[in-house]
Amino acid sequence: MERFILFTVNGFAFGAIYASVALALVIIWRATRVLNFAQGAQAVASAYVAWSVTDATGSFWLGVLAALVSGLVIGALVQLTVFRKAESMPHLNAVIVGVGLLILIQAVLGMAYSVETTRTIDAAFSSSKWQVAGTPLVSPQDVFVLGSVLLVMAGIGYLMAKTPVGLRMRAAAFAPDTARLMGVKVSRMLTLGWAVAGLAGAVAAILVVPTSAELTPQVMDGVFVLGFTAAVVGGLDSLVGAVVGGLGVGLVLSYTSGYLSSDLLYPAALVLLIVILLVKPEGLFSAAQARRV
């Protein structure tokens, strides 16, 4: 039972991180039908910004703030420089551009931050678990992770659903021509969408980097794949789906690696991804849609 609780809590904590990556992917997918393969690398770039700011000022929270701001800025920059053109190209080209950007960002980070120093980002709160009736239950960090992701989702959901900007963003995504005729600056809305996605990615990076031994340019490669799996499980089109998908994937993988072997984390994700794609390719939360040709 103790193991089960441990795996469940870990599953939720990691699932929240996958959900955050999935949110970033879904926001961009909804707006532009591009799957941003550079999302993980962009998030790592934000994590490096956080490390640099914390290193210079000594303040953890200033670093977090810097990461969030840099997430927004990098997201917007990426859209303005590279993807504005790639968006209108065939899927394949956009994928390859994303891959190119992934390689480029990782290489630039590798050049800017020498491997001689070991860099880590601390967890915001203690990772030692609170005991309930002698059983270790959750740690403050677990609560922080889950809470941040839910907050981000709620914030993005509110922005999209309840604010005039969100309305314009949705209009720009679903009917760009009509939106343009109604006076919406579509390109600006798309840039904003990429910026918000960058923010969600940065949140994921701040939450996941403390769980790995060291901050490296490749630290998010695996997390990106798991976030993608989560997004596909949720349906790539739905913000709620991304979060539920993330938590679900987190739980499944936590049980697999807990009860079977931690080596099976990525193989299990692959199997999960293939099964979902073959059985219910539109995901759990997305309206059925004919393939566009």
Partner: protein
């Protein structure tokens, strides 16, 4: 010349012969260290030729091709060690058998992956193949008894024929020769494939699935075929890489390799076989020149070809071959498609 123009097979044979002669001359004229580079280039060409047929020729994508290459290498590592002589070396004949076995196994696996891939499109397929590539280390660690985890398995070196040894050749030269020969065979087969009925079926599926279906083609079948072809050459490429690094381990077949081969294909020009060769040269030599000659940051080659990938995709999707065709001032002979050309 007229014969060459009218017969695809003869033209491709001539091109392959030229490739072989240049390759053999290259191996003949260099030292052992450079022979290693030639071998690396040849195995990149092998893998890139298949990937360009998959991506450019059939419109699918794979971000996990290194996983297929790993299967080729692990097949070699399972087959060769029990067939060594007293010096721990294997004869070239055994290596050829090993490579053929590597092709068979990867083709089979590729076809199975292809069945799943045929139901996926664009970004979904890209993500799924990426997940495949990322899963390799976990599999090798979980089945530790079979794959020996992170350490991987050793692959024996080929035995140097006495006649070559007396002529001053080394084992590195022999490996490079084998690699060149494999790349030449792959080039010949893929070039013929492109102009064959099957190749045109692949292209039809790429250009318009519904039209292809209306012409009586089975879209999934063509997509599985494309995946199997590309897996076959990836298997050879992986087996050769195993020979070069004398082992099979998950680290050497990681994301970096998958993306480098994809980079070679894109930079050379999607769908173009000649482009796959140019692209492989760019990727291999960028690495060599920036890292070993100029001794700039070890990340510089990756930065350079990441940037190249973006620029090529946005500004000249035809890649190097497309640029050459345009510079040559002639239209593609047979196909109006920007992804055409041979």
């Amino acid at each position: 010349m007229n014969v060459l123009r009218s017969s695809t097979l003869l033209r491709n044979l001539a091109a392959t012969a030229i490739f072989l002669v240049i390759g053999f001359l290259a191996v003949y004229s260099v030292d052992e260290y450079t022979a290693g580079t030639v071998a690396k280039l040849a195995l990149y060409i092998c893998a890139a030729l298949g990937l360009t047929v998959l991506v450019g020729g059939n419109g699918q994508i794979s971000l996990g091709h290194a996983a297929l290459m790993a299967i080729g290498a692990y097949t070699m590592a399972k087959f060769l060690p029990s067939r060594t002589d007293d010096f721990g070396q294997v004869s070239i004949g055994v290596i050829v058998v090993g490579l053929i076995l590597a092709i068979a196994v990867t083709t089979l696996v590729g076809a199975v992956i292809g069945v799943a891939a045929a139901r996926l499109r664009g970004p979904y397929l890209a993500g799924a193949t990426l997940a495949l590539g990322v899963a390799v280390p976990g599999v090798t660690t979980y089945f530790h008894d079979t794959f020996n985890g992170e350490q991987g398995l050793p692959i024996p070196v080929p035995r140097l024929p006495a006649s070559l040894e007396s002529a001053g050749w080394t084992i590195g030269h022999v490996v490079a020769l084998i690699a060149i020969a494999c790349a030449a065979v792959a080039l010949l087969l893929m070039a013929n494939l492109k102009r064959s009925a099957v190749g045109r079926h692949l292209a039809a599926v790429r250009d318009h699935e519904i039209s292809a279906q209306l012409c009586g083609l089975s879209v999934p079948r063509e997509q599985v075929r494309a995946f199997a072809f590309s897996a076959a050459t990836a298997g050879v490429g992986g087996g050769l890489l195993g020979l070069v690094i004398q082992g099979a381990n998950p680290h050497s077949f990681g994301l970096v390799l998958s993306l480098s081969v994809l980079g070679a294909v894109v930079i050379g020009g999607l769908g173009s076989l000649r482009g796959a060769i140019w692209g492989s040269i760019v990727v291999v030599y960028l690495d060599l020149i920036l890292k070993d000659e100029l001794k700039v940051d070890p990340n510089a080659p990756a930065a350079a070809y990441g940037l190249l990938l973006i620029v090529v995709m946005l500004a000249m999707p035809g890649g190097i071959q497309g640029l050459l065709t345009r510079l040559g001032g002639r239209l593609p002979r047979r196909s109006a498609q920007p992804q055409g050309g041979n």
